[in-house]
């Protein structure tokens, strides 16, 4: 995802002199082309994220379009007050690009995990929260983010994730979910880096005789409410899938929507990370499996939920 981001960023900066790049001393060589092409618009702000976020807000106040890039926890919790007060309170078009969504940097330990960032960002007024599902969605999201006159949080994985689309999806827009696979038994709403895992789970479900509709819900805020209304009317079982805490994330947002809209005739299963730090060594795949986020675990859980649902009114097992 990050290479797609760097490529797309350069193209956007070539086309728009307002684009300014701020890095928190990461992305070694990733931005070499940008630095060569636009040295006056690239700033390595050092390991000083609070200042970097304030600088971004100040740049935006002069009419520029700053993009702030660092590892997710340092792009969010480290400088949360600067995001809230400098960026969101002034409602400035700052795009915060975080690398390392969820457990992308599992092996580096909880200091580098980002399993609460959606919750923090989603709570901030004016903030738009986008979690692209693959490298093409990253490109689409970045293009779209620069046209949004508000703060945007763009949550990426790292590199080498499976590519799902073969181009930026037609009509890609912030706030508009993308149906990636059709199915009639149940619906998987997935956000961000879990898209490939959700598709793998869908294949396993198919082996069990269930066809799943898979939707890439890349925008967590604002929620695509029209899409949710349609999905919750069409299916009796919906699952949210995210590489994030169950508290305050995508599943929580959907659960809030469901409660507010009275859509409880449709069952909701939220798949995400429990309320605990994951302290053991191990890379992303291992950590996901430990936390119930691997495709076979997701498929098994949803098969059981679907079996419970069959032949019984939803109210009985919810």
């Amino acid at each position: 995802m990050r290479n797609a981001f760097a490529d797309e960023l350069l193209a956007l900066a070539d086309a728009d002199p307002r684009v300014v790049m701020l890095s928190g001393d990461i992305g070694n060589k990733l931005f070499d082309k940008f630095r060569a092409a636009h040295p006056e618009r690239f700033f390595n702000c050092g390991v000083a994220e609070a200042n970097m976020m304030g600088v971004a807000a100040g740049l935006a106040m002069t009419g520029l379009l700053p993009i702030v890039y660092t590892i997710a926890p340092f792009a969010t919790t480290r400088c949360l007050e600067q995001i809230r007060t400098d960026v969101c309170y002034h409602d400035l078009p700052v795009t915060i690009v975080a690398v390392g969504a969820g457990l992308s940097y599992a092996g580096l330990g909880p200091t580098h995990h980002a399993c609460e960032d959606i919750a923090f960002m989603r709570a901030l007024p004016n903030m738009v929260v986008v979690c692209p599902g693959d490298a093409w969605e990253v490109r689409g999201a970045l293009r779209a983010a620069l046209r949004v006159p508000h703060p945007v949080y763009l949550r990426m994985g790292k590199k080498g994730e499976p590519v799902v689309h073969d181009a930026v999806p037609d009509g890609f827009a912030i706030g508009r979910a993308i149906t990636v696979a059709e199915g009639s038994s149940l619906c998987l709403l997935t956000t961000g880096t879990m898209l490939p895992e959700a598709l793998a789970a869908s294949s396993l479900l198919e082996q069990a005789g269930l066809t799943a509709c898979v939707v890439s819900f890349h925008t967590v805020k604002p929620l695509d409410e029209a899409c949710l209304a349609e999905i919750f009317a069409r299916f009796s079982l919906v699952a949210t899938i995210e590489e994030h805490s169950l508290i305050g994330g995508f599943g929580a947002a959907v659960a809030e929507w469901r409660a507010d809209r009275g859509r409880d005739a449709c069952a909701l299963v939220r798949i995400g990370i429990a309320d605990a730090f994951f302290k053991r060594a191990g890379e992303q795949e291992y950590a996901r499996a430990q936390l119930g986020l691997a495709a076979p675990q997701i498929a098994a859980r949803l098969t059981a939920a679907w079996q419970r649902a069959e032949g019984q009114p939803a109210e009985a097992w919810r």
């Binding site: 300014v20 100040g58 520029l64």
Partner: protein, 276 residues
């Protein structure tokens, strides 16, 4: 509305009028931080009457100089200056801290003409100022950025992050003025976190720093006007001030960080300031 004027007598009069107004506003609103507001009235007067290239009729002019009140708790001094300079009607000062008013106890975002940034949480104004000043460089706009910080505010790590960033980027259209009144909310600033030697700290951080009398309006104006100086570095003006300055019974008495003056105290202050 008081017109912009470089005449020393006019600058002193502007500062005295600011003081008289912030004392009255604190009383009327029951709002704290009066000592902090009085402390910086000469700096604010220098900025708004003698230094900043600003036009109250065009508060959003991209070429304007920016003055950021990073010590947002002195909002009353900023509001009075903006009103006296014609950014909004003086009558609106009577609404300070009243329900529904635009004049909140800390400056709000995107609401009042002339307020460059919402401040009140300390340590934000200098990073913002760095970004605005850099934005001017990128856009080829030769404006200057002033950030007024309190000494207590220099407790915040983000101030020093920004100081190192500004020096690295050689942001020479940026000026910090420190209202160095030696107090913070509940204690002497140097007994809380060691600030001294403050000017030397800014020099060590790569800035061009100078110490001055923070109640000499014309002296302040001359130093602030000389930004950028020929150093190629950002400029720090360490303005030695007295908290509660201008009202004898408030001077250097930190109770006035929170105390609200009575009607009688307001009258005494106005007399001392030569305003009644």
């Amino acid at each position: 509305m008081i017109p912009s004027n470089l005449d020393p007598a006019h600058l002193r009069e502007a500062a005295a009028r600011l003081r008289g107004r912030v004392v009255a506003m604190s009383h009327a609103a029951g709002a704290a931080h009066l000592g902090s507001a009085l402390s910086c009235c000469d700096i604010v007067a220098a900025a708004y009457w003698a230094v900043c290239n600003i036009d109250p009729a065009c508060p959003g002019d991209p070429l304007r100089d920016r003055f950021i009140l990073s010590k947002g708790h002195a909002a009353s001094a900023l509001y009075a200056a903006l009103a006296f300079r014609g950014f909004f009607p003086e009558d609106e000062l009577d609404t300070y801290a009243q329900p529904g008013a635009r004049l909140a106890e800390h400056p709000p975002a995107n609401m009042l003409p002339g307020v460059e940034a919402a401040t009140g949480s300390l340590g934000h104004g200098l990073p913002l100022g760095c970004g605005i000043a850099l934005g001017g460089r990128i856009r080829g706009e030769a404006f200057r950025v002033y950030a007024l910080l309190s000494d207590g505010e220099c407790n915040e790590g983000s101030v020093w992050e920004a100081a190192m960033f500004a020096a690295a980027q050689k942001i020479d259209n940026l000026c910090v003025v420190i209202d160095y009144n030696k107090w913070q909310a509940t204690a002497r600033s140097n007994e809380t976190l060691a600030l001294a030697p403050l000017a030397e700290k800014w020099v060590a951080f790569g800035w061009s720093a100078i110490e001055t009398d923070g109640h000499n309006v014309t002296g302040l104006a001359a130093l602030m006007q000389a930004v950028p100086n020929d150093s190629g570095k950002p400029v720090a003006i360490i303005a030695h001030t007295v908290k509660g300055s201008g009202v004898s019974f408030m001077e250097d008495d930190n109770n006035w960080h929170y105390r609200i003056p009575t009607a009688d105290e307001v009258a005494r202050a106005q007399r001392e300031l030569g305003l009644s």
